[in-house]
């Protein structure tokens, strides 16, 4: 029974991975690509690791998979934020139809370092 639930979680994770990489190809802008791909791929890989945990149970590999989920949840938003900030400071233009750019407004006011 555990293995069937694990295979279900792995399929969900694979679908999220595929959608994230499709967003990485199809979306028009660096920031849009970062948003779609980071969220989808993080959730997808976390689901795959949870499926591995359901397969292995409370052995060494299963607990390592849980630790890996914790590590990804902690570090993926940090790296995505750093990449977005670096791209904005690098001077990558936004898409033409983007609505607002709060970071540039803050820079004009002189509030950000």
């Amino acid at each position: 029974m555990n293995e069937r639930i694990g295979i279900f979680f792995i399929i969900v994770g694979l679908v999220f991975d595929f959608l994230g990489c499709l967003g990485l190809i199809r979306l028009p802008d660096v920031y849009n690509r970062l948003q779609a791909s980071t969220k989808c791929v993080t959730l997808g890989t976390c689901s795959i690791l949870f499926g591995l945990f359901l397969f292995k149970g409370f052995t060494a590999a299963g607990i390592k998979a849980l630790l890996c989920i914790l590590f990804i949840i902690l570090t993926a938003p940090v790296s995505a934020h750093a990449l977005a900030r670096g791209a904005h400071k690098f001077g990558v233009k936004l898409w033409d139809k983007s609505v607002c750019d709060k970071y540039a407004e803050d820079k004009e006011k002189g509030n950000s370092k």
Binding site: C21, L24, V30, L52, C68, F71, I72, A82, G86
Partner: protein
């Protein structure tokens, strides 16, 4: 000339992937369930999408994003490889790869920002 170099690099990467998958572990081809085989090929296509974005990306920020996503995908590869082969040390490779990927992404972001590395 530049495009030719890109395609040569892509061909080299695909050949290395194929050799690593097919040659030294023939037991990997005897899967217990066909579902895991299909999931492996699906992740392989996701990695090819990321490589396409790395080759084509208009700015260097795109390439940094694609490298970050590729690092997370390799973790999924390691997790799925651990199930049908029964070797538990694949998840160790995954943990080490996640650490290296996080540190390298932070370094790339600092490089894009234009600062020194010791700040």
């Amino acid at each position: 000339m530049r495009r030719l170099r890109y395609f040569m690099g892509l061909a080299a990467i695909i050949i290395v992937f194929a050799v690593v998958i097919l040659h030294p572990f023939p037991s990997l081809l005897e899967w217990q369930s066909p579902l895991l085989k299909h999931s492996f090929s699906m992740l392989f296509f996701c990695a090819l999408f990321c490589l396409w974005r790395i080759a084509k990306g208009p700015t260097s920020a795109d390439r940094a994003v694609a490298i970050d996503i590729l690092g997370i995908l390799v973790l999924g590869f390691c997790a799925i490889l651990g199930i049908p082969t029964g070797r538990d040390w694949y998840i160790d490779i995954g943990i080490a790869w996640a650490l290296q990927s996080f540190i390298s992404t932070l370094a790339l972001a600092k490089y894009l920002e234009g600062r020194n590395f010791d700040e």
